[in-house]
Symmetry: D2
Subunit: 93 residues, 4 copies
């Protein structure tokens, strides 16, 4: 079980406001069945690494379908096998 | 004004639990005067870019003082001059 | 077609030198069939996003098999549909 | 002594090609006196952490002067005190 943070930036969008490209991505995450939390610099999800990576691929398709011509995806995963991390556990450092 | 996410990982710590190295870092951020929020995959701060970068240097010194022999620092900054971002604003995509 | 950079850090390894955990990861990338380049802060690969994400999952398994109890994976993907990026093209900014 | 990778993305640029915004950034890095290498997913620099962070601030100003209205900065630093890392050393995992 892992906790990951996913962040997508569309490039070449005319306006620096990119919310219209990100809303479909949040919808994909919300309907994934994985536990998630929208954070200021990305959306955090909790789940097995293979399911997180499949979700990244679906988010990637969603932002292209929203019209992005170029997208930068930033993903950070924290996977721990001795004591699986959780979204709640990781806030209480 | 920018919003940034800062994340530090000490390497070579014997235990995979690294909270003892991160608590002094959180203390440095909490006493910085910058608005901040502890998130699952890093701590988010709001402020001018130069102040954020000075804070990163102080966090870096704090984790070395806590005994880390090697540290990976991951920083992501979102700076916007037409409409300065805020921690609250960036959650409501 | 995308260009991505992949970086894995094992935590809790006793020594700050983590090469023994990373060599099996490089082997997995080298035998993937994808074009790649070992860079100072990560390994860069070129390919379709879905193949890159499958490769990340195989690298993740390789570092756990090498004995890591906790691993932080950092991935950055640049995907562009109007003019697919390449490893060579992205160096000549 | 640390090795770091720095990557800047301007948002809201009309064209997905952002080279005109990045060339002034590369110029700033090249004239910094720090050892550096342009890599596919970012520019790698070698130096003390405080000098790297000052350089990030100068790169940030350079991309705004080049006309960016919003910029995402991604920075990853590997600092090691027992055995300082080098750009060359980190490629030979």
């Amino acid at each position: 079980m892992a906790v990951a943070e996913l962040c997508l930036f569309p490039l070449g969008t005319e306006s620096p406001s990119v919310g219209e490209y990100l809303r479909p991505v949040i919808d994909v995450i919300a309907s994934s069945g994985l536990k998630y939390r929208v954070c200021p610099m990305g959306t955090v999800v909790e789940g097995p690494v293979d399911e997180i990576l499949e979700l990244v691929e679906r988010c990637h398709r969603a932002i292209l379908e929203a019209g992005a011509k170029r997208v930068v995806i930033s993903l950070k995963i924290d996977d721990r096998i001795d004591k699986p991390p959780t979204i709640e556990g990781k806030v209480g450092v």
